[in-house]
Amino acid sequence: MAELTVRDREGSPGKSAEPRTGAGAGLLRGIATKLGTALIVLFCVATVSFFLVRLSGDPVKLLLPPEATVEQEATLRASLGLDRPLLVQYLDYLAGLPKLDFGTSLFYDQPVAEVLFGRLPATLLLAGAAMVVCLLIAIPAGIIAALRRGRATDSGVMAGVLIGQSTPPFWVGILLILVFAVQFQVLPASGYGTFAHLILPAITLAVYSVAVIARLLRSSLIDVLGSDYIRTARAKGLGPRGVIVGHGLRNASLPVVTVIGLELGSLLGGAILTEQVFSWPGIGRLTVEAITNRDFPLVQASVLFFAAAFVVVNLLVDVSYTLLDPRVRLRS
């Protein structure tokens, strides 16, 4: 019975008009097209970041003490390969990309890939923990608000959502430090290594996404709960929990899955500020440092990393959307 009703959601009939037989091939072709677009986007980001970072100033001046002579500057510039024509540098950089060879960091004097991947676990840990915190709060909050729509609980959740969406994440971090590290001294204000170090940064990073996901889950559940098949399920005597779990959540999950994917991308971006507040040794802080140090190769690589993360997450969301809902076909 449940299977009969699951796909009952109203949708535009045009979307499912595609013949069944071609669905598999269409899916593959759709994925191939999306992949091609993703590569073009990454190529553009790589190119723009290469030229943009070179507008920000001369790294040689930062690496040498102010009293360095012109000859010393020229020697360093030559040894870093920065004296070559811009086009040569650009082609060299592009040639290294497929091999994940991003050159040598000017500041750390190590291969950029090594520096970057050395910091990756810290950022992934932070973003992953934030996602867990986020789902643990957002899903119950969204469901409760939808069920108690218009009552005090709902208003409370929605007020929380509004405040969460309006508060600058780094200020949340500062407040958490103030309360838990300065006032009660129960959690460390900064650093990395133990579970206790993870708690405040993860909550800080999660706040905004909690608001986005709880709000969306609520409205999408309210949508679903008003539909005919939910009334049918209720009429045949299914309790509120059965209605929510068996019918409501399954159908409300589609837009939520999309946004969870997109939020994962924004969690990585938000990590830049959170890592700064908590001195978290991840890629976000590395990027800000690299920008102020004018460490060209490192900036280029970390920008590309963030762009790639964003693009890959979007791609996965598109594909999972198709797999979750057969009515949606990837458009080429």
Binding site: T37, I40, V41, L42, C44, V45, V48, S49, L52, V53, L55, S56, G57, R149, L162, I163, Q165, S166, T167, P168, F170, W171, I174, L175, I177, L178, A181, V182, A189, S219, I222, G269, I272, L273, Q276, V277, T287, V288, I291, T292, V299, V303, F306, A307, F310, V311
Partner: protein, 295 residues
């Protein structure tokens, strides 16, 4: 003849304002915003001190209601003995100015791109929408620094950066509206009688996308204010000799152990401003598109 074909937007707009004001929360939010704007405009008249005047004998003074507080420094002082309240009042100028200017720039840019992309279509549409994808995937912080490095740091640099990174949402919404308007009679008939593309876009399409534009712009002002504060917090935004809430927060984080007020009050102002703008934006959206959002 063409005048009567496009629905008029003017009457609807005053109706929208009245509907927003009927929402009590939104009316309160608008009041808060109005007070903020007044404080920003009248800053030299109402600020009790010069925001940059240092009183080294009164450094890190707590707020006035505190036992060690000083009545002349209502919200306390920072590490250089500067009056926090006065700095917050002057900081409101930067926040509101940057927020509004960035939203205006991004909105104009996005509206033009969306109109052209949706109405003309073809290869131009494909190129512009691909550009939007690149823009979304690009961390705007790098763009910020490159532009700061190129034209020098300053208030208008930040406005340019936030304006040029914020256009995508506007362009996408305007484009999708235009795609559905394009085949409506008032457009096809204007075309049939030989009205130029540019005129159709300006006279017939633009007035019809103003409501969604206003909604996005309102929400974008809040986002831009928070973004400016974030950039200034990282030291990549407005130069430090201009008072900003983000810059104050960055100072405040260094003194969390001794002087909580430096990091709490500017953040509170930031949150209150962004909250009031978001509430207003939500109300505006409910009014503009009651079907989709009144829940």
């Amino acid at each position: 003849m063409t005048m009567t074909l496009a629905p008029r937007a003017g009457g609807a707009r005053t109706g929208m304002l009245r509907a927003v004001l009927r929402n009590r929360l939104a009316a309160g939010a608008l009041l808060v915003l109005l007070l903020m704007v007044l404080a920003a405009v009248l800053a030299p008249l109402i600020a009790p001190h010069d925001p940059n005047a240092q009183d080294l004998l009164a450094r890190l003074r707590p707020p006035a209601w505190h036992a060690e507080g000083d009545a002349s420094y209502l919200l306390g002082t920072d590490q250089l003995g500067r009056d926090l309240l006065s700095r917050m009042i002057y900081g409101a100028r930067v926040s509101l100015l940057v927020g509004a200017a960035a939203a205006l720039l991004a909105g104009t840019l996005g509206a033009i791109i969306g109109l052209v992309s949706g109405f003309l279509g073809g290869w131009l549409d494909r190129v512009l929408m691909r550009l939007a994808d690149v823009q979304l995937a690009f961390p705007s912080i790098l763009l910020a620094l490159a532009i700061v490095g190129f034209v020098g740091s300053g208030l208008w640099t930040v406005v340019l950066v936030l304006g040029f990174t914020g256009w995508v949402a506007y362009a996408r919404v305007v484009r999708s509206e235009v795609l559905s308007l394009r085949s409506r009679e008032f457009v096809t008939e204007a075309r049939a009688i030989g009205v130029r593309d540019r005129t159709i876009m300006r006279r017939h399409l633009l007035p019809n996308v103003l409501a969604p534009l206003a909604t996005i712009a309102t929400l974008h002002v809040a986002a831009a204010i928070v973004a400016e504060a974030s950039l200034s917090f990282l030291g990549l935004g407005v130069p430090t000799d201009i008072v900003t809430w983000g810059g104050m927060l960055s100072d405040g984080q260094l003194y969390l152990g001794t002087a909580w007020w430096i990091a709490v009050f500017p953040g509170l102002a930031l949150m209150l401003t962004s909250l009031s703008i978001n509430v207003t934006g939500d109300a505006l959206r409910d009014v503009a598109d009651p079907k989709a959002y009144r829940r």
